[in-house]
């Protein structure tokens, strides 16, 4: 089979999301390639995880771009962001729970850049009077990550229907569980 880097990384992400301790051999099998081939393209397990980090950062950044957060109301922008980020949910879920491992410079640079963008988005929303000011942008950012990660996990294990992913996350993040007069 011809080597398809993108495909290999996808299946690796899917597998590692389920079992973060999966063997290099298992990762290779899951991708339908031999262990030797896997090693030819990723010098080691670290390199593989690093590549997954970069892929996740790149996809999240692309989602941020695609969502054009400074257009329309903050609520609309958030809905666009969650929609854009959904396909990367599994990968992000893996990275959020695994990012504890690395302290590489470029990786942290990448996350810091993303954090800054998301955080700035929430701050803008607060300044515009669309978001509550008693919840810090840093916390809202973390909560966004957490909910996306939790949502992707819940969908993967079948606790939540895949078609509800966006709605559940956005609605909870925006409106919370309380039943208010507007609902």
């Amino acid at each position: 089979m011809t080597f398809d880097r993108e495909r290999v990384l996808r299946s690796a992400a899917a597998l590692l999301t389920r079992r973060s301790t999966a063997t290099m051999d298992e990762v290779a099998r899951a991708a339908g390639i031999g262990r030797a081939t896997l090693h030819r393209h990723f010098s080691g397990r670290d390199a593989l995880v690093r590549a997954l980090e970069n892929l996740g950062i790149q996809e999240f950044e692309a989602a941020l771009d695609a969502a054009v957060l400074d257009e329309g109301t903050s609520e609309e922008a958030l809905r666009r962001l969650i929609a854009a980020v959904e396909p990367s949910g599994g990968l992000l879920s893996f990275l959020v729970t695994e990012n504890q491992l690395f302290e590489g410079e470029e990786v942290n640079d990448g996350w810091n850049r993303l954090d800054a963008r998301v955080s700035a988005f929430f701050r803008r929303g607060q300044e515009r009077g669309e978001f509550r000011i008693d919840l810090t942008p840093a916390w809202l950012t973390e909560a966004l990550y957490g909910l996306v990660s939790t949502g992707a996990w819940a969908v993967q294990v079948g606790r939540v229907a895949g078609q509800d992913f966006q709605y559940m996350i956005v609605e909870l993040l925006l409106g919370g569980a309380r039943r208010s007069v507007e609902q």
Copy 2:
């Protein structure tokens, strides 16, 4: 040093939350005991993680009991639950991200029981008209776990002040980020 099972489990949870791949030796060092002693009390790594699972389940169950969820409004009950669960935040954070590894029966029994209680709480709240009915109890349950876990993590790495833990989680879970007329 005299062996303190509780203390060892606590430090193990704290360490494993940061790095889930930490060595048995590192776990022992972190607890200030020798590796041999650790092995004397926990026959192996599996047994250690299993003990952490049981401790977490036990603490969460105690928190559920302490919160007397069927007393007062659902909102008050939720605030009590989050307050009661805060001390176990780090441990739960570890278990939530790590429970993917095990498929043991008793462990799953424990989680299923907890899931059922939390889920039933949200369903009751919906029936009483206090919680939105367009978010499923299963999702609210997962979101609760996710936010508690994310919150504990955010506090641990210093992104959120420890004293804000309860407020941030409860407010986001109940009211969301949107600024509404009642705020």
